[in-house]
């Protein structure tokens, strides 16, 4: 099958890549662009490990998205969440609240949580449960993950207040 040239913007940088029609976003990120921060899990959309964020911040399972459909579009991966060396509040909260253990599913958890917090900085427990329903994490049992998300939401709300005041 012939390859197609697409333009994909990842974390603000535009890349021109030749992709086969069946190639997934996950494969292009990891194997073509060498961005291995997004991990390869079940490759069947059931574990959430490979989650990235689309242009509206939405959570995308990169193992289930065809790269050709992303021609001309942009996405954010875990490598693009921090602002330089300054961690995003959700990353900081995961770190401080012990929500990270083996770290393999962590990129997917962070991107799922960020997708929620980008549109809702005051989530209920039910909102968090829905946002994280696609993620499996055997190490943490989600307990400290949920705490970290609530903490990140608190920090983001405080920022909104101070931004509003300034």
């Amino acid at each position: 099958m012939s390859k197609q040239l697409i333009t994909l913007t990842v974390n603000g940088d535009a890349y021109e890549v030749a992709v086969e029609p069946q190639q997934t976003l996950l494969e292009v990120l990891r194997d073509t662009l060498n961005m291995t921060g997004t991990k390869r899990g079940c490759t069947a959309g059931s574990c959430g490990v490979c989650t990235v964020n689309g242009e509206r911040g939405q959570a995308i399972l990169s193992c289930m998205a065809l790269a050709v459909e992303w021609d001309g579009r942009s996405l954010t991966t875990v490598e693009g969440v921090a602002d330089g060396n300054e961690l995003h509040p959700v990353q900081q909260a995961f770190l401080e609240f012990g929500a990270v253990q083996c770290g393999f599913c962590t990129p997917g958890l962070i991107m799922s949580a960020k997708a929620l917090l980008d549109v809702n900085t005051d989530p209920t427990d039910a909102d968090i449960n829905v946002a994280m329903a696609g993620a499996i994490c055997r190490c943490t049992g989600h307990i400290k993950v949920k705490k970290a998300i609530r903490e990140a939401a608190r920090v983001l709300r405080a920022r909104e207040v101070s931004d509003g005041a300034s």
Binding site: T38, C42, S46, Q101, K144
Partner: protein
């Protein structure tokens, strides 16, 4: 023993894990992220049958696929054996579905997959033995020449005179429980990258709980000196007792690399993950116990039958371990144990998270709960009456130098409001308790149980700590940095933990049998003390003080009680290095328990589960777990809580959901959707109580927390379900259909 809380500066505070920033930023490297020049991709051709004779293998079409660089067949693997009786690639017959027959390496995963589909293997199907009890029957075919009645391993122990003690008991209870096959389900699938391109030198990147045992196993398989096999452990995406020994894919990747002259990556695809993973098989537990008229437990008898599947590698450990845990919780007058590993044509099983002990406690915990109710006692009162205490020595010789079991039971019962709830809840609501003990290490199971550590102190006042203990997520490296920092009077963030290369790692058997914090922790403490003693000579001269009185704390060194004279730690290091002798500070330490076997420290715990059962659907909802654990001392309390949380998840997952459903030896639910685990919305509220007994032999009093919690969870939830519906569900998982059957 007095519980003196010394004034510690670093141990016992909450420290973020040292590798955390990399892990939240996508910078952590795992084996699947390794990219080597010229790297090929492997694929394995597997048996579709549970039992079949191999008549012919034709790889010609596969070899003709463009990009195929190596094909490995049973011809190439004639003298490579795994464990007792498993050929790496079988020449004559396959003994389980998914057994490796041929391996291929190609320039892309797609080419390797295409070629694998073109390998033609002719089989003659043979009748398969798929049920552990049928495999044991007199008329069953024998799968291995040396395994009579298909028994691959047997362990029997008797202590005291069980028959006489039973005869004198007022209450005797008998039960039969079953646990079904499972899968470890770590986030990171089975994967390895092998570089065997240099003759006689093998390099391998793979997730593991023990690089040392992997190194020894690969060296034995390829008949190399162990030091010519170099294991490189990056991050490991979970262990859960499932990465404690090599699997066929490790050998196959190495063989493909040797044959092709290029590095090879071999990784499980979705379905394959459930075949390559060798977790727990079906186990049948027959239990009998007896108590006197006052409710004192006197004797326990256990007969365990394990489906060990097609081959035996290291699974005998599970019988050794379960045999010890009969005595662990209660002082008994007698006991009897029999454990048998029985061959079938199912997957070669090892163990699931909890090492067989947690699953055994599912059975024993329910059995004891039943006995308490037979006697007419509240299970909490029964456990408090019977639980072991500090100073106890079990019948097989385990000595409890510290023991907070009764404190754990009392504190969970009080916080959970047990007395107001047990026997008083509305129908279909239940509360249950589970108690457990766990050894911090298991000397005698391996060639040795030594852990070692080096500490290199640099003249900027920082240190590098070298350990051979892997960190699969339990934060062991950060714990070791905390211990080292406490001794040197600096902070964990001043310490760079170097680990994961068998060429430079100090000796360490690895992170399993809960030996890390205790064994490697003691080694790290000893290495840091050695470094501190070297620095103390300089500091004593500078301060004109006695070495023995020096305090190392907050980046300063001063004589006890004279903080105003303090000199910076950095200055002491600088002076040591830049003195006339130019002494470079390199501390070394090791720890090896003075015992012949076993361990010096045991942790204890109690958990109370609160559940609701839906009588219409049989679905169990867990609302809350109250967990109290005697961990000796919490080196890093929030991380200790995280270990408890993860094990509650895994225990709940196993007791309620996890089962690999088999049909003709084939896993019918090989995906993360069909093999159910709890999602975020199903997790209960968890309350933690950390009990610190400050063990006299642990580093700063610490014991393990790696598996102590999970042994409590399954039984606590099962006992809560019994309380809710009035009957025990004797098979795990407590799937809705099993719960409904038990209600009726």
């Amino acid at each position: 023993m007095a519980r003196v809380k010394d004034d510690l500066a670093v141990v016992g505070k909450n420290w973020a894990r040292l590798d955390g920033i990399d892990k939240v930023s996508g910078r952590s490297i795992f084996a699947d992220d390794v990219r080597l020049p010229g790297m090929l991709f492997g694929k394995v051709v597997r048996s579709p049958y549970a039992h079949a004779r191999i008549l012919n293998i034709d790889t010609s079409a596969a070899e003709a696929v463009p990009g195929v660089k190596a094909v490995v067949t049973p011809e190439d693997a004639k003298d490579i054996w795994i464990g007792i009786n498993q050929p790496l690639l079988p020449a004559e017959k396959v003994n389980h579905v998914g057994q490796e027959v041929v391996a291929i390496a190609a320039i892309s995963e797609a080419a390797a997959t295409e070629a694998a589909a073109l390998v033609k293997v002719e089989y003659e199907r043979l009748p398969a033995l798929l049920d552990v009890e049928k495999a044991l029957a007199d008329n069953a075919a024998q799968l291995h020449a040396k395994a009579e009645h298909n028994i691959g391993w047997k362990q029997e122990d008797v202590h005291g005179d069980p028959d006489a003690v039973f005869a004198a008991c007022e209450f005797v209870r008998e039960d039969r429980y079953v646990t079904h096959p499972t899968h470890n389900c770590y986030a990171e699938y089975h994967v390895c990258v092998a570089d065997f391109t240099k003759p006689g030198k093998l390099k391998m990147w793979t997730p593991t709980q023990t690089a040392l045992l992997f190194q020894q196993s690969l060296a034995a398989g390829f008949k190399l000196p162990a030091s010519d096999v170099r294991l490189l452990t990056l991050n490991s995406g979970g262990g859960f007792t499932g990465r404690t020994s090599t699997r066929p894919h490790h050998f196959l990747a190495a063989m493909l690399s040797r044959k092709s002259g290029r590095p090879v990556r071999l990784r499980a695809s979705g379905d394959e993950e459930f075949i390559m993973c060798r977790a727990g098989g079906k186990v049948i537990y027959k239990l009998r116990s007896g108590a006197d008229k006052d409710g004192r437990l006197k004797v326990i008898e256990a007969d365990l039958l394990f489906d060990t599947g097609a081959y035996v590698e290291s699974q005998m450990i599970v019988t050794l371990l379960t045999s010890k845990y009969i005595h662990a919780l209660y002082p008994l007058e007698a006991s009897r144990y029999r454990g048998r590993l029985v061959h079938t044509n199912n997957l070669p099983y090892y163990f699931h998270h909890g090492g067989g002990i947690a699953q055994f406690q599912f059975a024993l915990g329910q059995h004891i709960d039943g006995l308490a109710r037979d006697i007419g006692m509240d299970p909490v009162d029964f456990n408090l009456l019977n639980a072991v205490e500090e100073g106890h020595t079990t019948m097989e010789g385990a000595h409890y130098a510290s023991c907070g079991l009764k404190e754990c039971i009392e504190k969970t019962a009080s916080l959970a409001g047990w007395k107001d709830k047990y026997g008083k809840l509305p129908k279909y609501k239940g509360i249950g308790i589970g108690i457990g003990a766990m050894a911090s290490g298991a000397k005698g199971l391996f060639k040795h149980d030594t852990s070692a550590a080096f500490v290199k102190v640099t003249d900027d006042g920082k240190a590098s700590l070298f350990v051979g203990l892997p960190d699969m997520g339990q934060s062991s490296h950060t714990a070791m940095a905390i211990i080292c920092a406490e001794v040197l009077g600096i902070t964990p963030n001043d310490i760079n933990v170097i680990s994961g290369d068998t060429d430079s790692d100090p000796l360490d058997v690895g992170a399993f049998t809960q030996r890390g914090t205790f064994n490697t922790g003691n080694a790290t403490r000893n290495a840091a003390l050695d470094a501190r003693n070297q620095l103390a000579k300089t500091a004593a001269a500078l301060l004109e003080a006695d070495e023995a009185t020096l305090v190392f704390r907050d980046h300063k060194v001063y004589p006890q009680g004279a903080e105003d004279q303090a000199i910076p730690f950095k200055k002491v290091v600088y002076q040591t290095l830049h003195s006339r002798e130019g002494r470079f500070v390199m501390g070394r330490g090791f720890y090896n328990s003075p015992l012949e076997k076993g361990t010096m420290a045991y942790s204890f715990g109690a958990q109370i589960a609160e559940v609701t059962v839906d009588p219409g659907t049989g679905v169990v909802t867990v609302h809350k777990i109250t967990a109290a654990h005697d961990v000796g001392r919490a080196i890093n309390p929030r991380i200790v809580e995280g270990q408890i949380d993860g094990q509650i998840f895994s225990g709940m997952s196993q007791v309620l959901y996890e089962e690999t459903i088999l049909e003709d030896g084939q896993v019918m639910n090989p995906s993360r959707i069909d093999y159910k685990m709890p999602r975020a919305f199903e997790m209960p509220e968890v309350e933690h109580i950390i009990v610190e007994t400050i063990d006299p032999n642990g580093p700063f009093g610490a014991k393990e927390v790696g598996e102590g919690p999970i042994v409590c969870t399954m039984q606590a939830i099962a006992n809560a379900v019994t309380h809710a519906i009035g009957n025990q569900v004797t098979e795990m998982p407590l799937s809705p259909w099993r719960v409904i059957k038990a209600i009726k």
